[in-house]
Symmetry: C2
Subunit: 471 residues, 2 copies
């Protein structure tokens, strides 16, 4: 079936132009103001058309912890998240992924990297469940099962010596389990891929990271992990390796052009050089970084050093929404704090490019998605410029990124299939989603937060080592 999106506004080098886009199957086959017919014609008058963004870091099961966790730094927040997550089941997992996918689509995203914590001893079935959710919604997705082989306290500076119990699963078992998940769930031709997803260097052995790199090479998988989200992690890297975590990951062979690194707040100049040379991608999650007090990722420095940047929402426990446009707004204006010369501040157009093409590069699909180009996959989003929240009409991209657009996503195509129309998902019933979230209502109020009491005294002993960030 061919689709003609007629007379839409697209950004060009200077300003915008009105044109039409012809889709055939999963591809963009023509872009021109002169296209006339197709099986289906869509009127895009007063619509802005952009390539879909990549939500390059989130944790879909955290939808169930939205609004649940107190303002706390990552290491203590994590203790609360662990307590809250213990009740996860496959039904929750499914609807958490559906909800995340729908929120991503309705805020301009067409692709998602889900760093998903799967229920213990149900990992295979759970990964298949999440994959099914994304297939049901119709979003492009990477499922990166979040795993580790070191216990909680080992992830804190001076915590390794206080860890008496080993992690309850061997490195070899984790790698074997991961390979089973790959064999069952990784189907690139359907738009659902598996990525290797160690939680980060802070709770993974070298053996696990190297095993993941080997799996990634063998199956051509993306690699995704947390990196230097907090000062505590930076201190830990010195303690664990006697060197920078980035350099250590490079030495292990973990950094390549398919590697996305969530957060990367505490990079130094040498780290930037290594990441640029490795062609790895930093995923900026500005909302989560502020909520958890992690700091400001050096995005302007990344760009200057030639490090690719993408955007993510992070999970709903650390950013209690999954709205990419909100992350893009903050990720645009936040960096004025780090740079007095306004000529280096991010423009909304640069942000759009990072969110689309930067994300596509990160997940190794830059030849397929991330721009509106003939021959590329039809992953695109149509925004309604007559929506009250985007009025009056001035500069559409500036209003979209710097405003507070609400219900502006008129239509979305993923892989050539329309999956959103009139701001509603087409392949999933939003009322059913609403019902599942609504009936879950009382669970949150019953969580007993206990783990934090074990972690907090140790964490507090670290505070004097943290540099005050006061401007």
């Amino acid at each position: 079936m061919s689709v003609l999106i007629q007379n839409g506004l697209v950004p060009v080098a200077e300003g915008y132009e009105t044109t039409s886009i012809h889709l055939e199957g999963d591809r963009i086959v023509a872009i021109s103001p002169d296209l006339q017919t197709a099986d289906v014609c869509i009127d895009a008058t007063d619509k802005l058309i952009l390539p879909g963004f990549v939500n390059a870091h989130t944790h879909s099961p955290q939808i169930w912890q939205r609004g649940l966790i107190r303002p706390l730094p990552l290491e203590l927040w994590l203790a609360d998240v662990f307590d809250a997550a213990s009740s996860s089941n496959l039904d929750e997992l499914y609807w958490g992924a559906v909800s995340t996918a729908v929120e991503t689509l309705l805020s301009g995203g067409t692709c998602i990297m889900d760093h998903v914590l799967l229920p213990w001893n149900q990992e295979l079935e759970a990964a298949a469940t999440v994959a099914q959710a994304y297939r049901d919604v119709g979003i492009r997705a990477f499922i990166a099962p979040l795993m580790m082989d070191e216990p909680f306290l080992a992830g804190l500076p001076r915590g390794r010596s206080r860890t008496s119990q080993p992690y309850p699963r061997s490195t070899a078992d984790i790698l074997a389990l991961m390979e089973s998940i790959i064999q069952q769930v990784h189907h690139p031709s359907t738009g659902i891929q598996v990525a290797v997803g160690p939680t980060g260097f802070h709770r993974c052995s070298d053996a696990l990271l190297q095993g993941y790199a080997e799996l990634s090479d063998r199956y051509n998988l993306c690699r995704h992990l947390h990196l230097l989200e907090t000062q505590a992690q930076k201190l830990l890297a010195q303690e664990k390796y006697g060197e920078s975590a980035v350099h250590h990951l490079q030495q292990l062979g973990f950094l390549d052009h398919r590697t996305t690194l969530a957060h990367a707040v505490w990079l130094d100049d040498r780290d930037l050089e290594i990441l640029a040379n490795a062609q790895s991608t930093v995923v900026h999650n500005p909302l989560s970084n502020l909520r958890l007090g992690s700091g400001i990722a050096p995005i302007l420095k990344c760009r200057k050093a030639g490090v690719n940047v993408a955007f993510g929402c992070d999970g709903a426990a650390s950013n209690d929404a999954q709205d990419l446009l909100e992350a893009l707004k903050l990720g645009t204006i936040l960096h004025t704090l780090t740079e007095p010369d306004y000529r280096h501040w991010l423009t909304p157009r640069q942000t759009v490019q990072m969110a689309a093409l930067g994300g596509a590069k990160g997940v190794n699909l830059a030849d397929q998605i991330g721009t509106l180009e003939v021959g590329k996959k039809a992953d695109l989003v149509m925004y309604d410029l007559t929506n009250l929240s985007l009025l009056p009409r001035t500069d559409p991209i500036r209003s979209l990124i710097l405003g507070r657009p609400t219900h502006v996503v008129e239509a979305v195509w993923v892989d050539g299939t329309q999956v959103v129309a009139k701001n509603q998902p087409l392949k999933i019933d939003r009322q059913t989603l609403h019902h599942h979230l609504l009936t879950h209502r009382q669970q949150g109020q019953q969580v007993q937060f206990q783990t934090i009491h074990q972690v907090e005294p140790h964490y507090r002993s670290l505070l004097p080592d943290f540099v005050q960030l006061d401007p």
Copy 2:
């Protein structure tokens, strides 16, 4: 007419309780779970009820510049705003105020401080027009005509010597004009007040500020002005006064308990002490401050020093939305950057209190609004907790402040009158508002930005004097 809002959720010291609220005329006359009858009963099951917030700093005519201005620091941004604003007329002024009021109501605000730039030589009629807009929407409002008696360049360090032309209106004429506006527009009993609104010390003479203080005393008016929004202004204060701007304002008698100071980013410890003693209010506009690269207002230090804090959206030219909940989210999470000890981070409940009671104190109405209390004015907002963006149900205030609530304001009462129902303004037709914003569509693209070329070389010469804020 009496109204009973039945079985709503309200925050109490520990958690929440379900209760009913009885309104009679403009007042809350009872709060109790046992109330049974009234002329009108409203079912508030699954609704959260909070006191209305105060949007304590905005510029309503800037609605027309939403999305129009490039990322620039305040001083250069202002040059673009001046060029863009030159076409303002009374019809635009009216619909700009209506739009600002509606967005404020639909994001939890019931009161607005409009630091409004009125068209030259139409000030009286224009102020009346803005007042009419607020009366038509039904929001409580303070109209603070933005005035100055020094030319543009005088507001920049080393700019005074480059200013050849005096300001084209005398200080005496400005004060006389202001008094006419007060006499015509200031009607506290209708919920519409006038406030004195000098733009700030940076473009006002001592005579103007003292004249305003005298008018404020004579008519019991609030005082509102910009304060130390940028580093440039801090440098200017040293140059202009040889001392802190805050100390100078205190010496002039401008600081009192009715004074709200927008931004106050560049305060030092002594300034905080002066503001606490004067019982003046800092208005935090975090979105605008990031977009313009102004820095982070020291809100945690304000609280510690006993300085009252309120929240504002600022105008749509520097925060391309007028959503108070968005400002509250950023204003909650931003301050983790300034404080490594998480025990001092803001909680969503503290934010709600600042936005409601803090705002009420700022506009000298703490005895009337800002809390849900018997005897106070019925300025309250009912949020729908079954809205998809607030699900699953966990902690309602945390979800409201840290999430991305969309269309959650179910009902609003101002002065006892219901002005919003089912997320729609009741007293104004939203379709008509939409029509006015839509038909204005092409104006923005025709603006010629010229003034910036005169200002930019001078501004750039100041950059080396600015401290790098890099974390």
